[in-house]
C-alpha cells in the first residue's frame, strides 16, 4: 500500500508509488494544503500516453487551478473514479483514498530519479 514514506516525489509536488510496472500517482500532503479546498479534478483519460513532466490533469480549488504533471512516462491505465463525485478526498487523504491515476510505466528508470520523502520535504522547507 502506498504511504507518504514509501512513495517517491517530483519537484512539482506529485508522488508516485511503483508496484511492478504500474505506478499510482497523487499529490503530496503539502500540495493539497497549499491548494486548499479541492472542488473539481479534470483527470487524464484512460489509455492516454503521458511523458514525465507533461501536464495531464488539472486540480481546481475554489481560488485557483493547479496543473498536475505526470511524474513518470507511460500509459494511463486507471483513474480514481471516486474523485469525480468527491474531489475533497485529496484534501482528506493525499496518500490514501485521494490518489489520482495509475500509469503503466514505459521507462522504469525514471522512478529512480524521483526524490524520497526526506529529500522532498527538504525541498519544500
Amino acid at each position: 500500500m502506498h504511504t507518504a514514506e514509501n512513495s517517491k516525489y517530483a519537484k512539482t509536488h506529485e508522488w508516485a508509488y511503483l508496484e511492478g510496472d504500474v505506478a499510482t500517482v497523487g499529490i503530496s500532503d503539502h500540495a493539497q494544503q497549499e491548494i486548499g479546498d479541492i472542488v473539481f479534478i479534470d483527470l487524464p483519460k484512460v489509455g492516454q500516453q503521458v511523458s514525465a513532466g507533461q501536464n495531464c490533469c488539472v486540480i481546481e480549488s475554489v481560488k485557483s487551478a493547479s496543473e498536475i504533471y505526470a511524474p513518470l512516462s507511460g500509459e494511463v491505465t486507471q483513474v480514481n473514479e471516486a474523485l469525480k463525485t468527491e474531489p475533497g478526498l485529496v484534501n482528506q487523504e493525499a496518500h490514501g483514498k485521494g490518489w489520482l491515476f495509475k500509469i503503466k510505466v514505459s521507462a522504469p528508470a525514471e522512478y529512480e530519479s524521483l526524490m524520497d520523502l526526506a529529500a522532498y520535504q527538504a525541498s519544500v522547507k
Binding site: 509536488h13 472542488v39 473539481f40 475554489v62 481560488k63
Partner: protein, 363 residues
C-alpha cells in the same frame, strides 16, 4: 502550484499580525499583504452565509471631501445622485469623459459639508489624483486619510448581534447609513454596508483600536475570513469587482450598473458619453453564467454559442451554493435560452446565461 509570495516590500495593514496569528495564509493583493484564507474558503463562505465572519479590509481607502461645495463636487464626479442628508451613504461610479469606469465607491454624508468616500485599495492614488484634478472649480478640500484607518467588514446573519456588543444602537441603523462612534476610546465610524450579499456592518477605527475590535470579535466566535471567501461571496451576490470586471474600458451601462447613472441630474463627468451610449444601445454587457457541466470557470475563459465566440469571462469561481458561476462581457443579443459553452483548460463545458445576482437573500 502557486508559489508563496515574498513578503518584502508589501504594505501591511494594522491587522496583519492578527491575521497571521489567526492562521491567515498571506498573499500579495495589489501590493498589500492580506490573508487569502484562514482554515478553508468553503468554511469561511459558510460562516458568512449562516453565522458571522469578518474580513480585514483596512487596505481600502478613506478620502474626506470637505467644504461648502463638497456635495456639488461629488455630484460632478459621480454618476449617481449622492445623498446629502447627514448619515446617508450612496454607492456610485466615477467615470472619465468617455464614460468609462474609474472606480466604484460609497460616499457617506457626515454633514452637508463633509463626506467620507470609501474607495478601492488599488485605486486610492488614481482616485485622489482624479478628485484633485477636478476640484479647481469647487470650494473643497480633498484629504486622503487612508493611512490613519483600519477597517473590518463584519458580515452574516449574526453580524449585527455581534456588532451590538461593541456599538450601541447599531441594530437600528438603516442599510447604507453611517454613524460616528467611539471604539476603545478612539473615534471611529460604522456603516451598515458590505460586499457579501449578507447583512452586516463595516467598522472603521484607528490602527490601534481596530486591533482591539478584531480581538473582541474573534473572542466572541466570529470567524476570520480571507479574500478567497470574499470573492466567492461578492460574485454570488452580483457585486462588481473594479479592476477585474471593469478594466477602465467599460461604462456603468456595460458593467450592468445602469441604475447608478442618473442622466437627469446636472452636468457630471462623462454625462455626454453615457447619454450617447444609452441612445445608441449596447453591444456587450456584463452577463451572468452558470455551468451546467462539471468544472470551474475563471476570468479569461471564452464563451461560445454554436462554435462562435460570444463573450469572455472576467470573474469565475466555484460557488458552494451554485457550483461553477461566472460573469463576463457578452453579446447583448445572447438569450437565456441559448445553449452556450465555456472553454476551460481547452475543454468546452455546457453553461447557461442567468440573471445576476446568483444569490438573493437578506439585502
Amino acid at each position: 502550484m502557486e508559489e508563496s509570495v515574498s513578503q518584502n516590500n508589501l504594505k501591511k495593514t494594522p491587522l496583519c499580525a492578527a491575521c497571521e496569528a489567526a492562521g491567515g495564509k498571506m498573499v500579495d493583493f495589489h501590493g498589500w499583504l492580506l490573508p487569502v484564507q484562514f482554515e478553508s474558503i468553503i468554511a469561511e463562505h459558510k460562516a458568512v452565509r449562516e453565522g458571522a465572519g469578518m474580513f480585514d479590509v483596512s487596505h481600502m481607502g478613506q478620502v474626506f471631501v470637505e467644504g461648502p461645495d463638497a456635495w456639488r463636487f461629488l455630484q460632478y464626479i459621480n454618476t449617481n445622485n449622492i445623498k446629502n442628508t447627514a448619515g446617508c451613504g450612496t454607492y456610485s461610479h466615477m467615470v472619465n469623459e468617455k464614460g468609462c469606469i474609474i472606480d466604484d465607491a460609497i460616499s457617506f454624508c457626515l454633514t452637508p459639508e463633509k463626506f467620507l468616500v470609501v474607495v478601492n485599495a488599488a485605486c486610492i492614488d488614481t482616485d485622489v489624483a482624479w478628485f484633485k484634478k477636478h476640484a479647481d472649480k469647487f470650494n473643497v478640500q480633498i484629504t486622503d486619510d487612508s493611512a490613519h484607518w483600519g477597517m473590518i467588514a463584519l458580515q452574516g446573519p449574526q453580524a449585527l448581534a455581534h456588532a451590538a456588543k461593541l456599538i450601541n444602537g447599531v441594530e437600528s441603523m438603516a442599510r447604507f447609513t453611517i454613524k460616528e462612534i467611539t471604539l476603545f476610546g478612539a473615534k471611529g465610524y460604522v456603516t451598515r454596508t458590505g460586499y457579501t450579499g449578507e447583512d452586516g456592518v463595516e467598522i472603521m477605527a484607528s490602527p490601534e483600536a481596530i486591533v482591539k475590535v478584531w480581538d473582541a470579535l474573534l473572542n466572541a466566535g466570529v470567524k476570520p475570513c480571507g479574500l478567497g471567501a470574499r470573492d466567492v461571496l461578492r460574485l454570488e451576490a452580483g457585486y462588481l469587482l473594479n479592476g477585474t470586471d471593469a478594466d477602465g474600458t467599460q461604462t456603468p451601462y456595460e458593467a450592468g450598473c445602469g441604475w447608478v447613472v442618473k442622466l437627469a441630474k446636472e452636468d457630471f463627468i462623462g454625462k455626454a458619453a453615457l447619454e450617447a451610449q444609452k441612445a445608441a444601445g449596447l453591444k456587450r454587457r456584463l452577463t451572468g453564467f452558470m455551468l451546467t457541466g462539471a468544472g470551474v470557470p475563471r476570468g479569461g475563459c471564452k464563451v461560445f454559442k454554436n462554435e462562435t465566440e460570444v463573450g469572455v469571462l472576467t470573474s469565475g469561481t466555484y460557488s458552494p451554493l451554485f457550483k461553477g458561476i461566472a460573469v463576463g462581457y457578452a453579446d447583448t443579443n445572447l438569450q437565456e435560452a441559448d445553449a452556450v459553452e465555456i472553454e476551460v483548460h481547452g475543454r468546452k463545458i455546457p453553461a447557461k446565461k442567468v440573471k445576476t445576482p446568483f444569490y438573493k437573500n437578506r439585502v
